[in-house]
Symmetry: C2
Subunit: 344 residues, 2 copies
């Protein structure tokens, strides 16, 4: 018997009906003790395991959780946050038999919602992890109306108190960055922020602006995509200013920061002598570029692990009180791109 034996194979081999075999395996009444022992011995010997579809039906569980990563494939392929977050989920699932269904998609929000509806309708997953919280995010409400357990990896303050979540404190992170830049002598901040559909980007704009005001720094921002071209645009903007020129760029990710540094140098603006650069989201890119770029590490692996653990807990006990946790504080990895201004 090469392929995995089915319950029909067992029944045929033992000359029993399928329901007798099923009763025997599941401990129901209706078969003799002798038959039960014979079935179990044989099933063990041939390595029979219950079909997961059948078990899913009987216990109303699929043994899978799902996550949708929605972005341009080009961004998904260069954004280490996603893979590190997925690795964190995987770490939480090691040793369990829970599978992770991953949907990478370039489609819009409506299509993402359609995926959750289909997963719920077809009972493909027991629960979902939501990432990249949107402004006025309809996903939490949808998950609830579908009866689909969900955990949100979003940003503080919580907008969905009914949903368990692991939230990043973007106000705290913004304060860390601005305080660092102020100490290093920056007076005028240009914030090259990411797409405003992400709630964390909006939060960071508010928080960086507020921190700048508190430290007496000027604040300007431009929004764009998580791509090299956005960093180049930010550097061009700095170069175009003859007076009150920004002396620090806060970049939404590593690619933007790297591109900004390269373009600044082309404009004869030195990093860090004339302009500091700090990035959200540390990566090997920040480490290997010249000059190396100071960056905030948000520990995506830990967030992924925590989100998966919270979802598994929720699946074990749907009645447990809703827990919303703040992620471990991000760590600013200080490199040469934010060495003190003008002291070189």
């Amino acid at each position: 018997m090469n392929a995995a034996p089915t319950i029909s194979d067992l029944a045929r081999a033992l000359n029993l009906s399928i329901s007798s075999v099923s009763y025997a395996l599941n401990g129901h009444k209706g078969v003799s003790e002798a038959t039960r022992r014979r079935v179990i011995e044989y099933a063990t010997r041939v390595g029979y395991r219950a079909n997961s579809s059948a078990r899913a039906l009987s216990r109303a569980r699929t043994g899978s959780i799902g996550i949708v990563v929605r972005d341009d494939y080009a961004v998904i392929g260069t954004e280490p946050y996603y893979l590190r977050f997925l690795a964190g989920i995987a770490a939480a699932l090691e040793g369990t038999e829970v599978e992770l269904i991953v949907k990478l998609t370039e489609s819009g929000l409506d299509d993402e919602l359609a995926i959750y509806r289909r997963w719920a309708a077809e009972r493909r997953v027991d629960g979902i992890i939501l990432i990249d919280e949107n402004i006025d995010d309809p996903r939490a409400g949808l998950a609830q109306s579908l009866g689909l357990p969900a955990v949100l990896h979003g940003t503080t303050p919580p907008t969905h108190p009914e949903l368990p979540g692991i939230l990043t404190d973007d106000a705290f992170d913004s304060a860390t960055i601005v305080e660092h830049l102020a100490l290093r002598g920056a007076r005028r901040i240009l914030h090259a922020a990411g797409p405003m559909r992400h709630r964390h980007e909006v939060r960071r704009c508010e928080a960086v602006a507020a921190e700048c005001a508190a430290h007496g720094l000027s604040y300007d921002s431009i929004c764009g995509s998580y791509e090299l071209s956005h960093g180049e645009r930010a550097a061009d903007l700095v170069a175009a200013r003859s007076t009150e020129r920004p002396d620090a760029i806060v970049a939404a990710n590593d690619l933007i920061a790297v591109a900004a540094c390269r373009r600044l140098v082309q404009h004869d603006i030195r990093v860090p002598e004339d302009c500091l650069v700090v990035a959200w989201d540390n990566s090997v890119l920040c480490e290997i570029t010249e000059p190396p770029i100071s960056a905030l590490d948000r520990h995506p692996e830990r967030c992924g692990t925590k989100a998966a653990q919270m979802l598994l807990e929720l699946l074990r006990n749907a009645e447990a009180p809703v827990r919303i946790e703040i992620a471990d504080p991000s760590a600013l990895v200080v490199r040469r791109s934010s060495a003190p201004l003008g002291v070189h």
Copy 2:
């Protein structure tokens, strides 16, 4: 009715037995035409969809395919090949209702095999995509003995003629790289190869050595992990040679190449004036580092898409002849790290 309606909900609402509803929905005999129409109308109105576990049982399909990515999480998180390959699979699945189960794991080969056994035994997936072909790879044979349809993303020549595959022509790629380096004036190649458990690394060592011999170049290799430290070791080796010093490094991936460049400069060996560097696997890292690094783009998205398409075809028609395809030729993206030697 907030949660997705089940067949029990339908039966209750229509005051029918569950089996009557099931018969009506599935077109079996045993219910009147009037009842059938009433059931279907109501089921359509409330958005009932058959439970996927139930459908999986009836058609012996799970609607999922699986992939195991086995490596250190640190490597998985910095290796864009994986995410780009997964994005390619996702592109092939868009518009279908086939889900992708992704298992990221740091465990060994035995644990990977155990995952396939479990997936087959529990009927979690309809088929699998195998990546990172090993020497004496037992996975193809296991998939066959489990009756689990599989497609291999491996390297030429095929070692598993019974298995459909999308194979990279590493001999062709090796020739591309060596020919380029020879034209740029290199005489002595040091190959910083990856772990020898990967069949493609072994193939590349053989092929690069053969191409060097054909072009009259000397060849040396060191094996190591896909990490920065391996590139540093390669550069140290170059620097340690006072005579017959290698004048070109072929790196197994982008990280190794970047680290080699940085360390060479610390040894006062200039890139490309004194030593050329070319990397396997193009990435944004190669693009943004200084000097930018010439690299071979293997089009991982296309390979992922092709592998998924082949698996879907196989699932549609298990009797179709086994197809083994060679991946599109890799493209060498030439950058400054391999500008002609000594002409600067």
